[in-house]
């Protein structure tokens, strides 16, 4: 029974997403303002102008679990950033704590280079697996932040308490850190230690706020609709359970 409901949820969300993507062409979905992304846009411009890099920490999420979702967002952000920063010849650097994520990041960066007709150079340095365990990943990322003239740190992916070390390295360098994760511990850390924390679903809106493509706006619209459907369902189901139907 629950399996069937799961499939139903999947199909409904898929249908909604496709429909809303098509509808975006007629009427774009207006998004609320999120300070973090306003700052990010400005910081990217300044970083590119200043010849500094942008660092994306993709986390250490296992590819074969639901942690992969936030890492996908991190990869999407990396892709957009590389499109901007390649113009200034300062491509972003990506650090990860998982081999698969590193490969995906390298593939994304390579594609970005090819889009600009540039030969991909130093990919092993630009997208690295800096450590295979949470702490070694955090320590490795921290050292990359210090060594690579980074101006903006984006921590989007599955992280844990070790994220505090990355935020601290970023803070000590005077960087802007924008951080979001699917992990609650990481979110708690970001609440205190990041310049601009992204809570819960906010991290999943990063790509939409960066490029505003139809599919990303449609994603957020889908999430909005699904969320209200969930809210209605919770209220309705609670009442039904309470009256014993």
């Amino acid at each position: 029974m629950t399996d069937g409901i799961g499939l139903l949820i999947f199909l409904a969300l898929s249908l909604l997403l496709v429909l809303l993507t098509v509808m975006q062409r007629k009427r774009s979905y207006t998004l609320r303002e999120l300070l973090a992304f306003q700052r990010l846009r400005r910081a990217i411009g300044l970083a590119v102008e200043d010849g500094k890099r942008i660092h994306v920490a993709l986390g250490r999420g296992n590819l074969l679990s639901e942690n992969f979702g936030s890492a996908l967002i991190g990869l999407g952000v990396l892709k957009r950033l590389s499109s901007v920063a390649l113009i200034a010849d300062h491509p972003p650097i990506a650090t990860s704590g998982e081999g698969g994520l590193m490969l995906l990041a390298q593939t994304g960066l390579q594609a970005a280079h090819q889009r600009f007709g540039l030969p991909p150079q130093d990919l092993p340095q630009k997208a690295q697996l800096v450590g295979v365990t949470p702490l070694s990943f955090a320590v490795g990322s921290g050292m990359e932040i210090r060594d690579e003239r980074v101006a903006v740190d984006l921590l989007i992916g599955h992280l844990g308490s070790e994220a505090a070390l990355i935020c601290d390295a970023s803070h000590q360098q005077g960087n802007l850190s924008i951080a979001g994760s699917d992990d609650l511990t990481a979110q708690a850390v970001f609440a205190a230690a990041a310049s601009h924390p992204l809570f819960g679903e906010e991290a999943y809106a990063a790509v939409a706020y960066m490029d505003g493509e139809a599919v990303h706006r449609a994603s957020l619209q889908t999430q909005d609709l699904a969320r209200w459907a969930i809210i209605l369902f919770l209220i309705f189901a609670s009442v039904v359970k309470l009256i014993g139907l």
């Binding site: 679990s65 639901e66 942690n67 365990t133 702490l135 803070h171 000590q172 511990t185 708690a188």
Partner: protein, 708 residues
């Protein structure tokens, strides 16, 4: 032969005339300076990067510095060096130089192909559509917008009727890089709305360079002494002298250091001072084509579209102005014109001489290669009031001033911005560390400060019950998903429970969904065994299945068929051949499953994946305190999804207290409580301090924000 346009009044004259039929100005120049390809032209509008020498002369705009270098005959190497070493801007600037050279070149026989791309687009555009902005044209051509274009654009848009009071802009006066403005000014500056009469007593070339003179004297000691004392009036002889200087001589002179240029930027020219030098220096030659054009050249020259626009707008204005003049004013004007004619005669006679004159008065004292007398004399005429004025609106002037300020700011040495690093507040961090450290030491040295937790937590009670119900020689699956960082806490949380299991002779199967956990699992059992006095060893006491890869998928597969998913131990030995594990085939065969983790996500994943494969009554969670808020809801759910949750050192200490076997948790408890107390104090003090600091700074920050 085509009709020729008067360089003074701008009106069209029939071909063949030597003087303008309207203003009597000479149409054919008596002397034409041969085009000097090698003569460097000033860079107009260049935004060249600063050269090292420029840093010593903060007030010297780069464009001027470059022009000076060029004039000094060292342009090529310097330029090439710069082009190699400096930013692309330098290349752009040299490209600009070429463009302007092309624009103001005397080589009027340029073909359409020779016209720079941007200029062609500009011309095409102005021919085709006057309304389209030049900026757009440049953008279409993917060319950087020349800065002056905006000014021109603004000028072209000014309608005569709506034009605000126009104002004369002096050459180099705060807009040294504006080629076209400069040109217009050189072309027309002497004839202003006020129509200042130019007399021999009025040395119009002096004031701008007045302050330079001593400097020049120092720099040019080789000039004849008699020339130094020459009064500033240009006499006929000096004019002759100038005209007699050959272009070659001028070139030779130009190869010398033009020291007067050194001081140029330092001069603060007052607005309203006499504008053009009597004999414009050579570097202006390229930007004053109307004065040096031959008749043929004049007929061939193609005026830039913007100039045509100005003319077309000004001509009616001029005519209306002439109509409004009173007879007396007209007479005065005619007198002035006749004066001009007189002065025009002498240079004409001296044209036969091939020497280029040497300036003997004023700031141009000693200079050769300045523009010859003919244009000079012609310049003194006032053929047209309207054309004499460069229409510069207040807005444009303000923009120009702003631009100059920007350039000046660029020229000023700026202190290197200190690395934008946030102050790490090392002191506060060290204070936090040492305070906590001291608290911990005090806790160890004086354990009486701490009291053990007295309450019997429901979670601990349930866990104790589950362990107590274990049969002897039970098989227990320990999922150890911990990192080294949390080892101490997890050991404190689980030590009492594991001790109880060891007392019952339980056999452990260890597995971990992370790589560190695989290393830590062994250590956990070793430490508990050692501290509690057991003799637990690998193989006899436990089997470590090692790392379970694949995240949730791996957990799921493991839950379904553990023996297939993890057939070997961490050291690659066959796992399930152990006597104590012969009866284990599925998860439900274990007497108890304990998940030990510090990761909230993995804790949740394990709950979901073990659901249905393990009885709730046989599923225990021992988690870090950080995971408690998340996992406790599963324990408190209705119906309950797990048997119990032990969270953090507190539950470990309670467990030890209840079993009356003080262990690792109780050993740390005293120091722990003091450290927590210290931390609470630090948080309170620090937060209040920084909050007050923020509140105090707030009005200031708001004020700054408003100012911005």
């Amino acid at each position: 032969m085509e009709a020729q346009r008067c360089p003074m009044c701008g009106r069209v004259n029939p071909p063949g005339l030597e003087v303008c039929q309207y203003c009597q100005a000479r149409l054919k120049p008596l002397w034409v300076e041969p085009p000097q390809d090698s003569s460097p032209s000033i860079e107009v509008g260049s935004t060249r990067a600063r050269t090292p020498s420029a840093s010593n002369e903060p007030l010297l705009p780069d464009w001027l510095l470059e022009s000076r270098l060029d004039l000094g005959g060292e342009s090529s190497p310097r330029m090439s060096e710069q082009d190699d070493s400096e930013q692309p801007l330098s290349e752009e600037a040299s490209a600009d130089e070429e463009r302007f050279g092309g624009l103001f070149s005397d080589e009027l026989g340029e073909t359409e192909e020779d016209v720079p791309e941007w200029l062609r687009s500009l011309r095409d555009e102005s021919e085709s559509d006057q309304g389209v902005t030049a900026t757009a044209a440049i953008e279409e051509g993917s060319e950087p917008i020349p800065f002056w274009l905006d000014f021109e654009e603004g000028k072209a848009e000014e309608s005569p009727s709506e034009a605000p009071p126009s104002e004369k802009v002096l050459p180099f006066h705060e807009m040294p890089f504006e080629g076209l403005d400069l040109e217009d000014e050189s072309l027309l500056s002497e004839i202003t709305a006020e129509a200042k009469p130019i007399s021999a007593e009025e040395p119009q070339t002096v004031p701008p360079f007045e302050t330079l003179e001593p400097f020049l004297l120092e720099e040019q000691p080789s000039f004849p002494p008699q020339e130094q004392g020459v009064p500033p009036q240009p006499s006929a002889s000096t004019l002759q002298e100038r005209a007699s200087l050959s272009p070659e001589a001028a070139e030779d002179w130009m190869s010398e250091i033009p020291s007067w240029l050194d001081a140029l930027p330092g001069q603060d020219w007052e607005e309203g001072e006499t504008a053009a030098p009597e004999t414009p220096p050579e570097f202006l030659e390229g930007i004053v084509p109307p004065f040096v054009e031959t008749e043929e050249e004049l007929s061939d020259i193609e005026f830039p579209a913007w100039l045509g626009q100005i003319e077309s707008t000004l001509e009616p204005q001029l005519e209306s102005l002439m109509d409004t003049l009173t007879p007396a004013e007209t007479e005065t004007l005619l007198q002035e014109e006749s004066l001009g004619e007189i002065s025009q005669e002498q240079p004409a006679q001296s044209l036969a001489q091939e020497e280029i004159p040497v300036e003997v008065v004023g700031p141009l004292h000693g200079l050769r290669g300045i523009l010859p007398a003919e244009p000079l004399v012609a310049e003194q005429k006032k053929p047209s009031k309207a054309l004499s004025e460069l229409l510069v609106t207040d807005k444009q002037r303000a923009q120009a001033e702003l631009f100059l300020k920007l350039i000046e700011e660029e020229g000023k040495p700026k202190p290197m911005p200190s690395p934008k690093r946030a102050r790490p507040h090392i002191l506060w961090r060290m204070l936090i560390f040492f305070a906590l450290f001291a608290g911990a030491i005090l806790g160890f040295v004086q354990p009486q400060f701490a009291t053990p937790p007295q309450e019997l937590s429901v979670g601990v009670f349930d866990a104790m019950q589950a362990v107590n119900q274990l049969p002897a020689q039970a098989s227990v699956l320990l999922v150890v998903d911990i990192e080294g960082q949390d080892f101490a806490e997890m050991q404190a949380t689980t030590a009492a429970m594991l001790d109880q299991m060891m007392i019952k002779g339980a056999f452990f199967v260890l597995v971990s969904a992370n790589q560190s956990g695989a290393l830590q699992a062994d250590r956990l059992l070793r430490e508990v065994s050692r501290l509690s006095g057991h003799q637990y060893q690998p193989s006899s006491g436990w089997v470590n299945l090692g790392y379970l890869p694949g995240g949730v998928a791996g957990m799921q597969a493991f839950s379904q068929s553990l023996t297939e998913v993890l057939p070997f131990t961490i050291d690659g030995e066959v796992a399930w051949q152990n006597d104590r594990l012969r009866n284990i085939r599925t998860l439900s065969d274990f007497d108890l499953v304990v998940v030990i983790t510090e990761d909230s996500t993995r804790a949740r994943q394990w709950v979901e994946q073990l659901k249905g494969h393990v009885l709730e009554s046989r599923l225990l969670f021992a988690v870090s305190a950080q995971v408690e808020p998340l996992i406790r809801s599963y324990y408190e759910a209705n119906p309950r999804q797990i048997q119990s949750v032990l969270a953090g050192i507190r539950d470990g200490a309670i467990y030890e207290t209840q079993t009356a076997r003080p262990g690792w948790a109780m050993k740390l408890w005293g120091a722990y409580t003091l450290v927590v107390l210290t931390a609470i104090a630090l948080i309170l003090v620090g937060s209040v301090f920084y909050a007050v600091l923020a509140l105090l700074n707030r009005p200031q920050a708001q004020g700054e924000g408003k100012e911005r």
